[in-house]
Symmetry: C2
Subunit: 187 residues, 2 copies
Amino acid sequence: MRADARKNRDHLLAVAGTAISEQGVEVSLRDIARRADVGLATLLRHFPTREALLDALLRTSFDQLTAKAGELETSSSPEDALVSWLRDCVAWTTEYRGATVLMAAAIEDPESALHASCVTLRAAGARLLTRAQDAGLARDDIDGTDVFALVAMLAWLGDQPSLAPRADHLFGVVANAILTSAGEDGP
Amino acid sequence: MRADARKNRDHLLAVAGTAISEQGVEVSLRDIARRADVGLATLLRHFPTREALLDALLRTSFDQLTAKAGELETSSSPEDALVSWLRDCVAWTTEYRGATVLMAAAIEDPESALHASCVTLRAAGARLLTRAQDAGLARDDIDGTDVFALVAMLAWLGDQPSLAPRADHLFGVVANAILTSAGEDGP
DNA sequence: ACCTGAACACCGTTCAAGT
DNA sequence: ACCTGAACACCGTTCAAGT
């Protein structure tokens, strides 16, 4: 890549990051280009779709979360590892309002630029889940996709201004549900 | 209202209903007007915002759900009443893809055309919850807004094509969580 | 190679002009 | 009263023309 192109690309990513943190992932691409003092077509040249731009922005965070899962696997109890990793995932999405919808769409669309990252993330969560299940600490009728869905639901909740105040509390309710043995219906 | 205006209004509602069931609540208003053989400005005259149109369409269903809650309060056990009503709410939203986001926004925005309907719905759910709590069958650290949020989460899940297959299963997980006594952490 | 302005087909909003 | 075409300011996409 030519030096000027690299510079444009990096600058666009920086501007896109702040624009998205301000207005959410549906921010106008034209607006990002304007704020980066660059033609809209230049943005589209570097990132042909909104998802491609998101992927470039999110990949670092995804990699960190995946790495974190690996650490927790050895450093914490199966129960603590799973719950605190889930909490990290949900907390992280608050930086990217609206990203959950894109991630949900990407998880089963191999064409999506976000697909690979989402699959990796799901696998990391699935490993922590399996570990907790093997220790008899998590219900065994759920799998990695269920955990992905539950995280997505809680992240979505945090995206809704009117319901966000309940997000922390309901995280506890859901986490508790995951850690309940399956088949035992209530008290 | 003049006869021709009434006719336009009814026709617009019918067309909007089918358009939304096909494409979700974000369908183009221009498209609805086109399919109704009416000027776009005429649609906007009857329904000044998208939410006003949604409200007119959803009010009937909301009233039915509220009435259903009243029936269940006397006809079923506190546990069955709550769970089957929640199931009805979630099932209903599959008709209106994307409506959950609008409902979440409306529940705390008194200016929204959907506000009153959402508040009524939440109150109906809250009554069923309280009844179950009084019988010692539901955790007592949640309230009507939490239930509204949980329903919204599950409805949102059904809206995501990739996660929808898990919606039924996770409904069971969440329902189970609601019916678990609070404070009792796992087995 | 890389960038860009301009044209395109869309969107929701608004309003003066018609019946 | 009610309806509507047209103008407006936006959006993302595409591409011929520039450097």
